[in-house]
Symmetry: C2
Subunit: 201 residues, 2 copies
């Protein structure tokens, strides 16, 4: 069956509509999705950025928020600016998302964290916010937090970010099908079509 | 009648498919287009870049060329990488494009320059290349070059670039409808729809 990988960072604005849309668009085409959280911080840092480019370049940032408003309105996705800080720190959420892969709840958790960040004005680096999301999913928040914070899982997130860099990823969301890389929420449909055309046998 | 403004820079890769597509997409919606050449150099310079971000950030640049290949293939637009230099210097072409506005040949000249840059591997800063384009359009290349190089026309291009900055433009292509700004070839359809919905009375 055709499949693609969705690479996302919890702080990333355009990863929000991508995460909310990917299952629907991929399902409709019969394409499966592997959800791959990673960290943009090390990538941006290696480019000399110690902040989001949307903060470093204010004109770009202003239009990004307007563009995101238009996209979310067109897709019926709620949007409220994070009130206290942008970008938020997605490290803890990324570790938990990775820990959920074996049990299959990474997509649901990911969508809930994006909603907390970009629709509910919550602090996604707050343990209580993450625990609340896990509890509403019927998970044992304490057990999940322990699993997320093992040295092994932390190392897995590091390796996932290193793999992203090795595969040419420089922003989020990105979609990969083998060596083919698509960058941006606005490339979701093309990436799904590419997966279907090149992998569906 | 509904209208939008297309802001473009001759060195800009994504401005190429936008320039080739805009008339067809806008015409189909009954939207008119004002073609507004400007220079990205001063804008990038003010952000601390003395080169294209696609050169400064190699991973981003590599994927841009691959993405542009996919876009041009899907649209049936020929594409060959500029063989000797990227980005090319679009200053002379921009002055000529602006000088053509009153006579209405800016769109045809613009498309021919983009084809020279991104399909024909020609140097668009070469006077002979620009003269050849003008002659094939039936223009008096010498007279046009004189008109393009008057102090008044040079100043007009400067003012056009200043207006772009004042209107929040930070990249090319961009589309404006009043205060509404859309950035990128992939926003063309949205910009045309916006013009139609908000201006067509």
């Amino acid at each position: 069956m055709a499949s693609l990988e969705l690479w996302y960072e919890f702080a990333s604005t355009y990863s929000y509509p991508a995460a909310m849309r990917v299952a629907r668009v991929a399902d409709a085409a019969g394409v499966t999705v592997r959800w791959r959280p990673f960290l943009l911080g090390p990538i941006f840092g290696s480019q000399g950025w110690n902040d989001s480019p949307f903060n470093i370049y204010p004109a770009k940032g202003k239009n990004m928020w307007r563009d995101l408003e238009r996209i979310c309105a067109a897709e019926g996705i709620p949007l409220k600016h994070p009130p206290f800080r942008f970008p938020q720190n997605g490290l803890k959420a990324a570790r938990i998302a990775l820990a959920g892969e074996a049990e299959g709840w990474t997509p649901a958790f990911t969508r809930a964290v994006y909603a907390a960040n970009f629709a509910e004005q919550k602090d996604i680096a707050d343990d209580a916010v993450l625990a609340d999301i896990l509890m509403r999913m019927g998970k044992d928040a304490s057990a999940v937090t322990v699993a997320a914070n093992t040295a092994e899982n932390k190392d897995r997130l590091k390796k996932q970010t290193e793999e992203a860099i090795a595969r040419g990823i420089y922003g989020a969301p990105s979609f990969t099908i083998g060596d083919e890389l698509f960058w941006g929420n606005d490339r979701l449909e093309q990436a799904v079509a590419w997966a279907k055309e090149n992998l569906d046998q």
